[in-house]
């Protein structure tokens, strides 16, 4: 029995990261959770070999915690923000039509302050000048996947999620892709806490793993 490598990872990596772990030559154990929780747990001494967050701010915070074994952060994945609707919906031509397209329904997205995907969505909507109009029609969830599920279950009319989420859910369709410059870059920084973690990190950065990430809808890394 080989000692497994323990990863603390942002929940939105679930799926892709499982696949990558399965292809690794050591057993990989992954504890998923919100980025903030992950960061705090690692800071509190969780025996993780590798931590992957969905938020640069939390990684910065973690780097400031003076953990002796924590390596420098490296971006392992990137994502794109998309607007989704139940399958069969026509494409969204202009974000200004969003309110009309909701037709009384709600726009599902991550919580604007707490969930990174929600923060990016807010940045975009503010840039597009429709934030205040949409505010009364939001359904803000505690993680992106919950927003995705709301649309998939037709509880919400539309949703703002990551492209990687949309790719995983056959019940939804991407009707709009948000321009990258309308929000902060969506980055997944990782840092290792042990040599084993460093090795896994290298494996994730290798082309084979990156291909898996792309298959799951993540954007190619822009070095």
């Amino acid at each position: 029995e080989q000692a497994p490598v323990t990863v603390f990872a942002a929940a939105s990596l679930r799926g892709a990261l499982d696949n990558i772990g399965a292809g690794y030559d050591l057993p990989v154990v992954i504890s998923y959770g919100g980025s903030g929780t992950m960061a705090r747990q690692v800071a509190a001494g969780a025996q993780a070999d590798l931590v992957i967050l969905a938020s640069s701010t939390w990684m910065t915070w973690l780097q400031n915690q003076s953990l002796p074994d924590l390596s420098d952060a490296q971006i392992v994945a990137q994502n794109t923000l998309v607007v989704i609707a139940p399958v069969g919906a026509p494409a969204l031509e202009d974000p200004a039509d969003l309110l009309a397209r909701l037709s009384g329904g709600r726009l599902a997205m991550g919580q604007r302050d707490a969930v990174p995907a929600g923060t990016y969505a807010r940045q975009w909507l503010e840039t597009a000048g429709i934030w205040s109009t949409l505010m009364p029609h939001l359904a803000e969830t505690d993680n992106v996947r919950a927003a995705l599920a709301l649309v998939a279950r037709a509880q919400a009319a539309l949703g703002v999620v990551y492209a990687s989420d949309a790719a995983a859910e056959p019940a939804v369709e991407v009707i709009y892709t948000v321009p990258e410059d309308h929000h902060d870059p969506i980055l997944y920084p990782a840092a290792s806490l042990s040599p084993a973690g460093g090795a896994l990190l290298a494996f994730i950065l290798a082309p084979e793993a990156q291909a898996v990430l792309r298959d799951h809808g993540f954007a190619p890394l822009q070095q």
């Binding site: 919100g34 903030g36 960061a39 701010t57 302050d113 707490a114 009364p136 803000e140 969830t141 279950r153």
Partner: protein
Amino acid sequence: MTADAAAWQALGLSLWVAFWATLLAMPLALWVAWLLARVPFRGKWLLNAAVHLPLVLPPVVTGYLLLLSFGRSAPLGRALEAVGLQLAFHWTGAVLAAIVMGFPLMVRAMRLAIEAVDPKLEAAAATLGAPRTHVFARVTLPLIAPGILAGAVMGFAKAMGEFGATITFVANIPGQTQTLPSAIWTALQIPGGESAALFMVALACLVAVAAVVISEALARRVAARIAGA
């Protein structure tokens, strides 16, 4: 809006939700407690297990099930919305979530109290001519006042603290459905949000202390009446 204002807003919503949840759940919880304690019927174990379910299931699942039952795409949810009662993504839904989550606690407290009432006293009331409902209202109910009070405090406290089911069912929309726990959680998701969270945690503690102190004072009055002091 400042962080403080948001905190007060969340506190207000939570108090409002907890108030309604406690008020609405009490009669139903009392009825179920009475059924479980005093009425023999087939399938009682099922009701009993159902009452305990919200304890056993992760709150998120309960919230998700609520969404599936009362959401906009569910027939029930649509029917309620047609008569003007929107639950999903609405504070009323937070009330429902709080009711469901607090129900096992309320039922248990009331049931224990009912089971502790000497049936001989109820029999005595019956021989004096009191019909069943009067026996309940004039003998059982006052005697289980401590249990009802305990149930109410537990239900209220749970309603103040409920997070998982609420956020899943009604989301976490500041000013609309962001309860105190949601607001605290939100603050904790932001690096450096601890102080804002701490402030709200302190508010929650204050509410807990107030609820406990008030309920104990009430309980003491009830007990004193019976002890004749």
